[in-house]
């Protein structure tokens, strides 16, 4: 079935006109009609618009065939509901935006469109990307494609579930503390969080501006390389995007050898702080086996230490909530979104925000406001920023020794819907392995590395790389995929 194919499988067939973009798009829409009632990955999708885009792609394919400038020509890509697509709804999984329709395209969307992609659908997410389970959506929870009584991870749970369930060929998400990598791990697809500044955030609704980064969900590592090459690059409209050239990520998969990926000689760090308490036995076994596999492929495994690991979650929940409390001040019922009237502006703001935001968003706004408030700033926010320095230095020091770091993505496989929703702190602690990456500003990718038994649930392997070290991560991930079957497994839907 066409919807199960990867970008690298589809592109040549589209170019040879063996299949049409319309057929590919239709097969994704058919799959959505068949399975989305079970998993609820999409908040909405406009089928007529998607098919119109597909027909336009077919016309271009008829005229020019394969086009190096349009690597995604005719490929459906679905979008997390936090990224602006012109004339499509944008809700961030929240009630507060009402019937908001984006007046412009995010930079990543401009780039996808320029590359020929069919940009369709609004993917479900935790409200304002705050959560690890996609239960905090005003549009209802997303369910894991492998077991519909379980969460898909979050906050980009819709993106991970849609790619895993073959409802789309690829998807975009955003990652502030693991929101791409953790759902990719729990659903069983590839999720890439680029280095901070690699991808423009223009048109991404801000949660925590010093941590947020857009990235791709794909069915394999090769497609992640293709997507990053399209969406990466400097953007004058995002002053935090870094003016660093975009390398040929696809070429990086195999390095310089025509015989296949070169992993030999790469040093892979195994942080001792990540293989301790709370780590599920099946996850540990799968990650241990993956590390052995990297050894077989020729990588040198080195034990390393990231001594401040234990402080990352606390640091993150100060910095992320502080930034969020400022960023979400804009949702006040004045310029857009739903409004609840009041006698004066203060009452209007309070009522609008009280009615529009869900429980987790309120919790984080209150926490963020508190840690920034007079008398507490030094004790919480400034201290957290200093600990962030220590965490970043841990990584920079480790990367003097190793080329990449390997860890589990999540301490457990997907948990049950409702299991952690009444205990915010337990939910926060499920991000323990992904959060440091954002604080340090480095890159990371999660890829499938096995399954638990009874029930069969995916396990994710996380590779962390130096700032702008995506090429090495992709090369390692590709080599691993070539020698293991996990990424080809499909959920029983």
């Amino acid at each position: 079935m066409l919807n199960q194919l990867t970008i690298s499988e589809l592109a040549p067939r589209l170019a040879r006109r063996e299949v049409s973009a319309r057929e590919v798009m239709q097969s994704c829409l058919d799959q959505i009609a068949r399975v989305d009632g079970k998993i609820h990955a999409f908040i909405s999708h406009n089928d007529a618009d998607a098919l119109t885009q597909a027909e336009a792609a077919d016309q271009l394919l008829a005229q020019s065939g394969r086009d190096a400038g349009r690597p995604l020509l005719g490929v459906p890509v679905a979008i997390k509901d936090v990224i602006a697509v012109k004339n499509q709804p944008l809700n961030c999984g929240s009630k507060i935006l009402g019937r908001f329709v984006s007046p412009y395209d995010a930079t990543v969307i401009e780039k996808l469109k320029a590359a020929g992609a069919i940009v369709f659908g609004r993917l479900n997410m935790d409200e304002f990307a705050m959560g690890s389970s996609t239960e905090n959506s005003a549009f209802g929870a997303t369910h894991n494609p492998w077991d519909q009584t379980r969460i898909p991870g979050g906050s980009s749970g819709g993106s991970a579930a849609a790619v895993t369930a073959d409802e789309t060929i690829a998807a975009l998400g955003s990652d502030t503390g693991g929101s791409i990598r953790q759902p990719a791990a729990l659903c069983g697809c590839v999720g890439l969080k680029p280095t901070y500044g690699r991808v423009s955030r223009y048109g991404l609704v801000a949660f925590a501006s010093s941590l947020d980064q857009i990235g791709a969900f794909t069915k394999d590592i090769r497609d992640a390389a293709t997507m990053l090459a399209v969406i990466g690059g400097h953007d004058a409209r995002d002053s935090t995007s870094v003016p660093q050239p975009v390398p040929d990520y696809a070429a990086a998969l195999t390095g310089t050898s025509p015989d296949g990926p070169i992993v030999k000689g790469l040093k892979l760090g195994l942080p001792k702080e990540y293989m301790v308490g709370g780590l599920d036995a099946a996850v540990k076994a799968a990650v241990d086996a993956a590390v052995k596999q990297f050894g077989k492929l020729g990588a040198e495994i080195v034990e390393i230490s990231l001594p401040h690991t234990d402080y990352a979650v606390a640091t993150y929940y100060i910095i992320a909530t502080a930034e969020a409390s400022a960023n979400l001040a804009r949702f006040d019922g004045i310029r857009y979104g739903a409004r609840v009237d009041g006698a004066d502006p203060i009452e209007l703001y309070g009522r609008t925000r009280g009615a529009g935001f869900g429980a987790e968003v309120k919790r984080r706004i209150i926490l963020g406001t508190y840690v920034l408030s007079s008398g507490y700033y030094d004790a919480y926010y400034l201290r957290a920023q200093k600990v962030r320095t220590l965490i970043r230095h841990d990584f920079l020091k480790a990367f003097e020794q190793v080329d990449a770091i390997v860890t589990p993505t999540s301490p457990t496989a997907a948990f049950k819907i409702g299991e952690k929703s009444d205990d915010p702190l337990q939910m926060y602690l499920s991000d323990i392995f992904t959060i440091s990456c954002n604080l340090a500003g480095i890159c990371g990718v999660s890829l499938p590395c096995g399954f638990t038994q009874n029930p069969k649930l995916p396990i994710g392997l996380q590779l962390l790389g130096k700032p702008f070290g995506e090429e090495i991560l992709l090369r390692l991930g590709h080599a691993y995929e070539q020698s293991t079957p996990w990424h080809r497994e499909k959920p029983p839907l």
């Binding site: 007046p103 010093s210 935090t240 100060i318 004045i334 209150i366 702190l425 604080l439 500003g441």
Partner: protein
């Protein structure tokens, strides 16, 4: 070390967030729990450490001060909850 008790009502006012008494109670308990966990940062000696606001410090990012195309007026207003005469309508601020 115990965390400071959080005055949810006061902080909610600072955040312009109207909460029900039930929400205040629930949030208060949850935030005390989270702040208790955050106390662990006090174990660390951070005396001489510089704070990190951004992992990728780019400084003085500027562009030429030139007029560029921007969002058309109508597009900027199209999501407004209340509008008239090309303006956003807000509650009366000055009597």
């Amino acid at each position: 070390m115990a965390a400071a008790e959080i005055d949810v009502k006061y902080v909610a006012h600072l955040a312009r967030l109207a909460l029900t008494p039930d929400e205040e109670r629930k949030l208060g308990a949850q935030l005390d729990n989270i702040l208790g966990y955050i106390e662990k940062l006090k174990e660390l000696d951070i005396g001489t450490v510089e704070p990190t606001a951004h992992a990728m410090p780019l400084v003085n990012v500027t562009r030429p001060d030139e007029i560029r195309p921007s969002l058309p007026h109508e597009d900027a207003l199209r999501n407004a909850p209340a509008r008239a005469n090309g303006l956003f309508i807000v509650p009366k601020i000055v009597e």
